[in-house]
Every structure is written in C-alpha cells, then in structure tokens.
C-alpha cells in the first residue's frame, strides 16, 4: 500500500519515537520519492517525533539510552533528506556555542543538550569536551554566538565557568551564557553571573528560548520566588 504524505510524516515521527533507525532512513527515502518537501519531512516528521521524545524524557518515561537511540534515528533520517535540500540561509538561525569545561571529559549531558537545541532549530557549534576558556570566547566572538552553553560534571572545573563569563564580557562579546551539569545549581549560576541554568536537556530548550527573549534570570531560574529568597538567605544574603 502506498503511503500518503500525512501518513509518512506521522510514520517518520513514530520511527524516531520507537528508536527505529532503519525505518527512519527508509521512510525518509520514501518521502523524497513521494515529492514531500524535505524540510517539511524534518520539521513535521522527524523533529516532531523528537519533540515527543523530549516530552517523554521530561516525564521520566524515557531516559538517556532512549534519548540517544531516538536521536540516532532522527539523524539517520535527516542525513537522507539533507541531500535533497537547498542550502539554508545561515543568517536566519540563532547560533549557539556548546562545550564541556577544560579539565572535564564527561560529555553525555552536553551531547543531550546539543541534540535538543539542534532539534529546536538552533545552529549548533559543538566545541567538544575539555575545552579551553579561550576557545569558548574566541569561537563565540568569531561566529557572533547568541548563546554559549557551558557544561561540567565536576566540582573541580565548575569555577572555570565564571572565568569564561568574565572573559566574554572583557572581550566585549554579549552572548548569553547558559550553564548546567551535575554539581551546578541555580544559586551557583546566579552567583557567577550566568544568564540561565537548566537542570536537564529538556529544560535547556525552554531556558535558552526564555533567555533570548530577555526573560530575566530570576524568573527563568526560580519557579518560586520564595525559593530564591530562601537560597539567598542561606548563601549569606548577598545580592
């Protein structure tokens, strides 16, 4: 039976949600054959599936392995479709630099955030792991990054985030800075002058969007004003 267009978009989404890389690849080819706009096949098919995956992750139905395998399926489909797409105007997408702090090689969390932001339509510049402070600053300056995302899992490398934030300012680069990772808390983010903090990959998309719309740090970081007051009191009340 021939698949019609709306069926094929749903099937692409389903392939991603069900972690079926082969199906995603095959359906992407089928979409091209049926004359579906490749951009639509991504946005209303694969990416829509990934949005659902993000939801399932937030609801703790899906975990890290599911997320990674779903993303593999999505990228397998995108690879097929991309060959049939016109080059995109690079000026239309917001640019994000992302990487793991110098001294730290744990990058699973960073990779999850990258997948989610990529899926949300941002142009991602992945610096990898064990990234020097200067490389973050230089890259952000070169590409005029809208956002810089810093990740770490270690207490020994978390203080470097403040260095990057200060160096960006000194260099006159006004990219927003989002931080996250195991030892990072909202109060730490606030203390070092970060623009945003996200506790997981699902939340990162919301926080980045919020920060880019100029929503202030406090309302993004703290769901409850009392929590903020309480944290400030405990940290010593310094504003």
């Amino acid at each position: 039976m021939e698949l019609d267009r709306s069926t094929i978009l749903n099937a692409l989404a389903k392939a991603v949600i069900e972690m079926d890389t082969d199906a995603a690849r095959k359906l992407a080819g089928e979409a091209i054959r049926l004359g579906v706009d490749p951009y639509m096949a991504i946005m209303d098919g694969l990416a829509k599936g990934m949005d659902k995956v993000n939801e399932l992750y937030e609801e703790e139905e899906y975990f890290v392995p599911e997320l990674l395998v779903c993303a593999d399926a999505m990228y397998a489909g995108i690879e097929v479709l991309r060959a049939h797409m016109p080059k995109e105007d690079p000026h239309t997408r917001k640019k994000i630099v992302i990487g793991v702090m110098k001294g730290d090689t744990h990058d699973i969390g960073k990779n999850l955030v990258k997948i989610m932001l990529d899926n949300a339509g941002f142009e991602m510049h992945d610096m990898g792991r064990d990234v020097s402070y200067a490389k973050f600053v230089d890259t952000a300056g070169e590409i005029k990054a809208d956002v810089v995302c810093l990740s770490t899992l270690m207490t020994t490398t978390m203080d470097g985030m403040q260095v990057v934030i200060e160096d960006l300012k000194k260099a006159g680069i006004n990219s927003k800075v989002l931080i996250g990772g195991g030892p990072i808390s909202p109060s730490f983010a606030k203390n070092i002058g970060a623009d945003g903090y996200a506790k997981n990959a699902a939340e990162a998309v919301k926080v980045v969007k919020g920060v880019l719309q100029g929503i202030s740090l406090n309302s993004v970081l703290f769901k409850d004003k009392r929590e903020l007051v309480s944290i400030e009191r405990n940290i010593g009340g310094k504003r």
Binding site: M19, E60, Y62, F63, V64, P65, E66, L68, V69, D72, G103, D104, T105, H106, I108, G109, N111, L153, M154, T155, T156, T157, M158, G181, G182, P183, I184, S185, P186, S187, F188, K199, N200, R226, E227, S230, I231, R233, N234, I235, G236
Partner: protein
C-alpha cells in the same frame, strides 16, 4: 540520660552491623580523593602510588577521625585494570581516555582481572594494607569498587554502552558477566587484605537509565555481588548518586544492606525502602561541602538527621557523593562536628526541631563518573 561511652570508629561500625547498642550514628563523609589534602599531595601523586595513597588516608583519619576510611580514586579503576586507558590530570581524579572495547572483536580480549598485577589495583591494595596495619584496629578500611554496570560502561565507553541496552543487549550481558566476575575476584583480594570492600554503581543512576533497564541489566549482577560479599560475613553497601527515586526499590532488592544515596529526599527514601535497608547520605557535596560554609553545612546535616534518624533499618550521616577535592578544611570540620552532635544517641529531637528547616536546593547530579 543513659549514654554509653565514646566508641572507636571500628567498635561503632562493628556494633552497628551486629545491631548492638552504639553511642551515636555513624558519621561517614565520602572522603575519597580529598584524603590527598591531608599530606598536601596532588591527586595524581596520591592515586598512582600505594605508599602515598595509604599514608594520606592514615594522616586524614588521624586528622578527622571519620567513621570509615575509604580507598578510592575513580569509579573506573577496575575497568582500567581490565584494559581501559585512563588520563591522569595532575590534580584531579583520573578520567577515561580510551575505552578498552573499541569493536565487538575486542570482547574476545576480556579477562578476569588479576588484582595483584593489573592496572593500579596493586596501588590500591598497598594503600589498603598500609591503612590496615597503621589504623586497622581503630577503623574499618573500605576500598571502593566500581560495580559491574559502571565498570562495563568504562570498558565500552558510556554513550556506546548505554545505546547497546537497545541495540545489542547480548553484548551488554556478555560484558556484565565479565565485569561481575572481575568484581568478585577483586572482592576476594580486598577481603584477603583485611578490608571490607563496598561497591558504587553510578552509571545505573535513575538520571541515566529506567527502572526496567536497571532490573534487566543491573540488578541480577548486583545480587550476585552482594551474595558474594555476604559469603564473607560482610555487609553489602551500594552507592548510586544522581536521581535515585525511580530505581531505589530495585536497589533495595539487590541484597545490599546499606544504600548510599544522593539526589532524593530522605523522607521519600525512608518511606520507599526504609524497612529493608539502612540509608546513608545525602548532604550536598557541591552546594554544601565545596561552596557552602560551616553554618550551611550544620543546617544540612541537621536536616538529614532529622529526616532519617528513625529509619527502621538505620541511618548513616554522609555526603551524597564524593567530598569535593577542594573542600575547605573548616567545612569538613563543621560536617563532622554537626554529625557528632546531632547523631548522638539517644537522638535529641528537641535540638533537631529548634531552628526552622531551610529549604535547600539540591543539585541533580547526572552521574558521578570520575
């Protein structure tokens, strides 16, 4: 008030395990690489030399008299001994550089570990023996072993390995078989050295995998590990950091007697598994020990004791995960003093209630895999 005289850490731990009367709850911050600071050693000097590792832990115990002396540098030490290549920063815990199992063909190269020869296990064994000789009559020496799932992840590379829970479950089980056998061989060596080994399984955290995967790929092997430890008459201790609420019931089915936990409300933990296992935790390492101050830490300790002192199967005052290497000395002192004060038995519940409990934000460690 009917108080018994102050016990040594070893008497306290021993009495606790036998269910006898103790003077206070155990106070056991997870002092691991932090011990290097007691001899002003860089972490690399500490963890690559058995004499340094042993002497630093001895000096650290003499300084703090904490209730358990752990021997540890990274959760990947067993994987390293089985073939994974590590990177040793000068002053930070070692990290995986090149996982051993690069291709499926490499699976054939897997061997059960030889603790007397492989990797840095001889360093750990020497450190452990030095501690047993010097302070073993006062405190239990407890080497920390990366449990089967965590060791398997470090052998295969974590992101490849956890994908294979879906794409190649057979490989995962084969790898788990090999790591479980090596964990048991290492337990044998540590017991022979007069120590009481414990296990950490942070890659199986609820921040990483589902309960379904935990039950399928982690639990059967952990059961085997604790049965093995029990065969020596020793207690099973399972540490998993990160979010554990979703997996804590399965953790309690592993046969472990003590669960060392991080990101979960102790009240929830008590309700979910308190009738089965002793709980241990969960003062925040980053916001408390590292970035906090003595006043904050005192509140955090009190909060934990208030929540868990009446846990049916007992409670141990501890940090949720490793004490950060650069924790200020005064913060460590504050932790121990608060622990000794609030955990003195019988618990002074009035003292626990006197101040308003603040709400602390807890960081959500994804997994502690250094």
């Amino acid at each position: 008030m009917n108080r018994i005289a102050e016990m040594t850490p070893k008497e306290r731990f021993g009495a606790f395990l036998q269910g006898k009367e103790i003077d206070r709850l155990l106070v056991s911050p997870l002092i691991l690489n932090y011990a290097s600071r007691s001899l002003d050693l860089k972490v690399r000097e500490f963890c690559t030399n058995g004499k340094n590792m042993g002497e630093a832990n001895i000096a650290c115990f003499k300084k703090y008299r904490h209730d358990v002396v752990y021997i540890f540098s990274t959760t990947s030490t067993l994987a390293e001994a089985m073939g994974t290549r590590m990177h040793f920063p000068e002053d930070d815990s070692p990290q995986v550089e090149t996982p051993f199992i690069q291709t499926k063909e490499d699976m054939k190269k897997l061997r059960i570990v030889n603790p007397d020869k492989d990797g840095r296990l001889p360093v750990y064994l020497e450190a452990a023996k030095r501690c047993v000789d010097a302070i073993g009559d006062e405190v239990f020496i407890v080497p920390v072993i990366g449990a089967p799932f965590t060791t398997a992840a470090a052998l295969r590379g974590t992101d490849t390995f956890i994908r294979e829970l879906y794409t190649d479950p057979e490989l995962v089980h084969t790898l788990m078989r090999a790591t479980t056998d090596s964990v048991k061989a290492l337990i044998d060596a540590y017991v022979k050295a007069g120590t009481c080994p414990v296990t950490v399984e942070p890659i199986a955290t609820g921040s990483m995998i589902s309960e379904k995967h935990f039950r399928e790929f982690v639990l059967p092997y952990l059961k085997e590990v604790y049965a093995h430890i029990h065969s020596y008459g020793l207690p099973g201790v399972l540490h998993i950091c990160g979010k554990v609420k979703r997996v804590i019931k399965a953790m309690a089915e592993s046969g472990a007697d003590v669960l060392s936990i991080d990101d979960i409300d102790l009240l929830d933990a008590k309700e979910l598994v308190g009738d089965k296992v002793c709980l241990m935790g969960n003062i925040s390492p980053a916001d408390g020990m590292f970035k906090g101050n003595p006043a904050i830490i005192r509140e955090m300790v009190k909060d934990c004791v208030a929540k868990a002192y009446d846990n049916p199967k007992g409670y141990i005052v501890a940090t949720g995960c490793e004490v950060p290497i650069n924790t200020p000395h005064e913060n460590m002192v504050a932790f121990l003093e608060a622990g000794r004060e609030f955990a003195r038995l019988p618990i002074d519940t009035k003292k626990l209630e006197t101040e308003v409990k603040p709400h602390f934000h807890r960081t959500t460690s994804e997994a502690c895999v250094h």
